[in-house]
């Protein structure tokens, strides 16, 4: 068969979101690939320049539907840095709990998508079933399932309700058991492992050159996590480990994410313990001035997909002069040509599934 350009996306089942991967296919073998993004561009950064600071938080939720908590967190963090506000311990641990719930549900969303990418609908439904419990936790914490709108500049929206700790620990306990069923479906299945092993390999050096972050980077042996190496929100006071895998293939990225979910459970449990020790009346939110002093600031944190960063230029008014978003997937997707080069067409969903695409934050 002659070579042909195969357009995968934007309405293609493999592309989770609106993006296109143009693939030069020689029969089944991929010779070249061109990622095309920008279908979901909404002018997010420009929109922010016309809004007072607090009103950007719900918009930051919309950057990524499954990582809304971390995106509004990083926005609040950058404004807090501009205002030089120190958070209270209770706020920090509440944010940790919310972030880790967000991380687990985002990874479960990824696992579900991974299941359908590999053709196994059972994993999809089981992972979404587990995710539903974490979304229920979101509802109990802040009243909404996906667009949480929970962090505030200088705190969080509300303290956790009295029943939240009990429910949270129950869900985590249940999840730690139920995840083994899904692991049995994926890791113990020779088919899944042989689909993932050895495809989409990226070396440490290439990962550094492309600027990959997050589980994609840790999947190829780079031992770096913003939560540990540039700690924020008292992550350094919790006892947990960074999941790193040396292989750099799709299976390595898969294992990193599974391990991260289990580590997140640990973090939630410890953060809940710490919250228990803090007095219940500790402030969770401080009053912040409307206007942010002029200056440039940036804040970063560990998103479920990588390192998300916001860069703020403020001019002393009540709206940002410029708010730049560094999206992890925008960078990671640039490596897609490298990842899919030379593999078969059947491998593309498996490889790009482990990147965990989210187009809201990519196109902004």
């Amino acid at each position: 068969m002659a070579e042909m350009w195969l357009t995968m996306g934007p309405q293609h089942p493999f592309s989770h979101g609106l993006w296109t991967l143009k693939v030069l296919a020689d029969g089944e073998i991929v010779k070249d690939a061109v990622p095309v993004i920008g279908y979901l561009h909404r002018g997010w950064e420009k929109e922010c320049e016309n809004r007072p600071y607090p009103l950007i938080i719900p918009m930051a939720d919309r950057l990524c539907y499954s990582a809304s908590m971390t995106w509004s967190h990083v926005y609040c963090k950058v404004v807090e840095e501009a205002l030089e506000i120190e958070l209270t311990d209770r706020t920090k641990y509440l944010r940790v709990v919310a972030d880790e719930i967000c991380r687990i549900q985002s990874h479960l969303m990824w696992l579900a998508a991974m299941g359908t990418d590999l053709g196994n609908l059972t994993v999809f439904l089981w992972a979404l079933r587990e995710r539903e419990f974490f979304l229920d936790l979101n509802v109990k914490l802040c009243g909404q399932r996906l667009t949480t709108n929970y962090p505030r500049i200088g705190g969080v929206r509300n303290d956790m309700p009295y029943y939240f700790e009990r429910d949270c620990l129950r869900v985590v306990k249940r999840f730690e058991k139920a995840i083994w069923n899904i692991i049995a479906m994926m890791d113990e299945s020779a088919i899944v492992v042989s689909r993932l092993k050895g495809v989409g390999v990226i070396s440490r050096k290439d990962a550094a050159n492309y600027g990959l972050t997050g589980p994609t980077m840790r999947g190829c042996g780079v031992d770096f996590d913003v939560r540990r190496d540039d700690p924020y929100c008292n992550y350094d006071q919790l006892d947990w480990e960074v999941a790193v895998c040396k292989e750099g293939d799709a299976y390595g990225r898969y294992r990193v994410r599974i391990e991260e979910m289990l580590q997140s459970c640990e973090i939630i449990k410890q953060a809940m313990e710490k919250l228990d020790k803090l007095p219940k009346t500790d402030p969770t939110r401080v009053k912040v001035p409307k206007n942010v002093p002029a200056g440039t600031h940036f804040a970063r944190l560990e998103d479920p997909r990588g390192e998300s960063l916001m860069y703020l230029i403020s001019d002393g008014s009540d709206r940002p002069y410029r708010l730049k978003v560094r999206s992890p997937i925008f960078v990671n997707v640039s490596a897609s040509k490298h990842l899919v080069d030379g593999v078969r067409i059947a491998d593309i969903p498996a490889i790009m599934g482990t990147i965990d695409m989210c187009l809201g934050e990519t196109d902004r």
Partner: protein
């Protein structure tokens, strides 16, 4: 003769007294009696209006009854195959629903009528033919894929009295027709003028050819053991011992190959929806797609039925000669095998193109040859 009562026209003659069938055949019997009732009633009505005409007597004459009984028999056999097929789809959906922790079918008692509702829905969809498609190839390939699938499903006997014809070639012709579809899938993939469909068609061809070979070798070893291609003979040869006992290797190889032939997960590469939108079915819309799905399940039914006939003793109940309704026994075995198919579908992911070919040529082919050697050794040793 007065011919005034309807009972004078419907007399329920012996179905064996006819020029077409000389062995007892249950669907033929049903068709015969159906025509007795239907034709007799029509003849009686005509005779009421025009007393003493020749058309009424012609309708109930032996030859006409025989011919129309054949037609009705075909209808009965197709209807039963269709109902079996619907039941299997229902079974699969229920099993998948249970395994995936979700509700499955909801329409009708126990959700049984969901398939009809889905069929109605696909029927109401717009029927689109791509303007750049090769119209003849597009329609003919589809017709042949569906046609052969339905044909072999109708040719599967449910018991020694429920068959469409009892002939020597038996399984051979079923296997022959079973193998036509992949080539037509290739044609369909080409004719749709769609890159996904083309890739799907190529995958179908590569996959089916590689799985045809071990399947036929296993089939050869089974026929070698039974000394016949005839289905009745193959089942009769398993009275003492099912062929699954000496040929467990062959059974496994056959089942894996059958899953691949029926294009089901984990071997549904030609319609891998994650990478090729719907594979070779991408441009088929509306009821065309519905019929393709139906045809797929007909092929799944045939694959299960062949497994039952060749390895699980067909319609026999083990350790007893009592068998009141052999059709039910046969269907229960078919549904059991199909349960395993659905189970595999729930448990496993899709394999890759190179892996499926690797499995076909490097694992299943040697295993099937070993199976053949075992049968040969048994034959030479005089064990069977």
């Amino acid at each position: 003769m007065p011919y005034d009562s309807i009972l004078n026209w419907i007399v329920f003659k012996d179905p064996m007294v006819n020029p077409f069938y000389n062995v007892y055949n249950l669907p033929y019997d049903i068709g015969f009696k159906l025509w007795e009732i239907l034709g007799g009633a029509i003849a009686w009505l005509i005779n009421l209006i025009f007393p003493g005409n020749g058309a009424s007597k012609f309708l109930v004459s032996q030859e006409v009854t025989g011919i129309l009984a054949l037609v009705l028999m075909v209808v009965v056999i197709f209807a039963v195959a269709f109902v079996i097929n619907l039941t299997m789809i229902w079974e699969e959906r229920k099993v998948l629903g249970r395994m995936m922790d979700r509700r499955a079918t909801r329409v009708g008692p126990l959700g049984y009528l969901q398939n009809l509702a889905d069929g109605l829905k696909t029927f109401l969809k717009e029927n689109i033919t791509p303007s750049k498609a090769d119209k003849k190839g597009y329609m003919w390939a589809l017709s042949i894929v569906i046609g052969t699938s339905v044909l072999i499903a109708c040719m599967i006997p449910l018991s020694d009295r429920w068959f469409i014809a009892d002939y020597g070639a038996g399984l051979l012709i079923i296997f022959g027709l079973f193998a036509i579809a992949p080539f037509m899938i290739l044609v369909a993939g080409w004719a749709q003028n769609n890159k996904y469909a083309l890739l799907g068609g190529m995958r179908a061809a590569a996959q089916m050819i590689s799985y045809e070979v071990p399947m036929l070798i296993v089939f050869a070893s089974v026929t070698l053991m039974a000394k016949s291609f005839n289905i009745n003979d193959i089942v009769a040869a398993q009275v003492g011992m099912w062929f699954i006992v000496p040929q467990i290797l062959g059974f496994i190889v056959f089942m894996v190959a059958a899953v691949a032939e029926a294009e089901r997960i984990p071997f549904d590469l030609p319609e891998a929806e994650a990478e090729l939108v719907e594979g070779w079915q991408t441009e088929y819309s509306g009821m065309k797609w519905g019929l393709i799905m139906l045809g797929d399940y007909f092929r799944g039914y045939v694959a299960c039925a062949l497994g039952v006939i060749m390895f699980l003793g067909g319609w026999m109940i083990p350790f007893t000669s009592w068998n009141a309704i052999p059709e039910i026994v046969f269907l229960l075995k078919v549904f059991l095998i199909f349960f395993v198919f659905a189970w595999i579908r729930a448990a496993h992911a899709r394999v890759r193109t190179d892996q499926i070919l690797w499995l076909g040529w490097k694992v299943l082919l040697p295993l099937s040859v070993i199976n053949l050697l075992i049968v040969l050794a048994l034959k030479i040793g005089g064990m069977v």
